[in-house]
Symmetry: C2
Subunit: 230 residues, 2 copies
């Protein structure tokens, strides 16, 4: 099968010297990619420059992107040409649109007007004691996947921080339905430590709990293989 | 001599999953550290997890920090115990204090009130179409160096983007005076490319232009050695 995997975290530029970065080492995507390569599948890994990556392999193609816009541009044709997408990348929900000093914000007739403004320097000045950064929601790429290719198998990820298991599963199920995903891997940052990575593979009617990155990868390999054989 | 070098870029957390990151590969700090090691000096390199680093060396100590606060905490005792500080790290000028949806900002009696608020969740909600991030200026660590150790040699860095040479030199001279630095390495991001890194070593009365990272490192080594021998 042709497996498309995303990993790492995107960064959205504030100016030429600063970005908003979503943390992700890329380790989980690396382990998942290695599991599919070992099982003789072809893997395309869309990731970032700083993410951990598998060693070279004849069936592995690596494509590097930086921000949400470049991710979307790279993914659309790939989604159309692959059998399964495993979307483990941490994608920024928001991208910067304008940065101003607090006084400019206080003096604006309406803060909504500032959403239309743009900075024009390469490096935004650092004269003010307080700065205000306006951010705009980015398109949810996962919601476009089944529009691009209704036949693709889709495994999404949901990371929350410090919530109950019930809440985590409920949020994962909502994402499953909204994005027409086949599975959502739900995890809580507080349950990810050295040597441990608790996660729930959530489908419409059940969830399976695992405790390590290797187990997550093996479980995904298993359900993808079963689904495509069925 | 005991040489203290900083390199890489700091990150300031927005929440548990996102940060504002200052871009820096750490390559220049690495080259400078290697030049001093080769000339038999002792080097302490304060850097970040993701920065490029020299290979292990008996005279090299590496200390990793993440944000401005941890940098300041690490540097104070080191500045007191070293002969020279070469401060090439890209340190964030601002750190996040509060993030809110645009509607909350529009409805506030005064935007200044929002500077007192704090987010309490691990991952800030992504429900709003627009978010507003309030940032506070961080202490300029370079301005504290000569207070901590008046005898230390201090070489600062100033990076601007797309300015004239005159403006770059003027800003560097202002930093030189304000921070009681011995030299400022002034550079423009647009003059840094693969194989090229134009910079000006600015002192009170002159500036010397160089074109590569190796030349920057050699020039710093030369002026530090001359100054300490004088």
């Amino acid at each position: 099968m042709k497996i498309l995997i995303t990993s790492g975290g995107t960064r959205e530029a504030i100016d030429r010297v600063r970005s908003i970065t979503n943390h992700s080492t890329g380790q989980l995507g690396k382990v998942i990619a290695e599991s599919f390569l070992k099982a003789d599948h072809h893997v395309t890994l869309v990731t970032t420059k700083s993410a951990l990556k598998p060693d070279d392999h004849p069936n592995l193609t690596i494509i590097e992107i930086s921000n949400g816009a470049s991710l979307q541009e790279a993914l659309e044709p790939l989604v159309k040409s692959h059998d399964v997408l495993i979307h483990s990348m941490a994608v920024s929900d928001y991208t910067p649109v304008y940065m101003a000093g607090i006084d400019e914000v206080a003096q604006a007739d309406s803060v909504y007007d500032l959403l239309e403004k743009r900075n024009d320097q390469g490096k935004i000045s650092s004269a003010d004691d307080y700065q205000v950064l306006f951010l705009k929601k980015t398109p949810k790429i996962i919601s476009l996947v089944k529009e691009w290719n209704p036949a693709i198998g889709l495994i999404g990820f949901k990371l929350l921080v410090g919530v109950s298991k019930d809440e985590l599963l409920a949020v994962a199920r909502a994402s499953l339905e909204k994005n027409q995903a086949d599975y959502i891997v739900a995890n809580d940052l507080l349950d990810i430590k050295e040597g441990q990575h608790r996660a729930y593979l959530v489908s419409k009617n059940e969830h399976i709990q695992v405790e390590t990155k290797d187990q997550i990868a093996q479980l995904i390999l298993q359900v993808v293989t079963e689904q495509k054989e069925a």
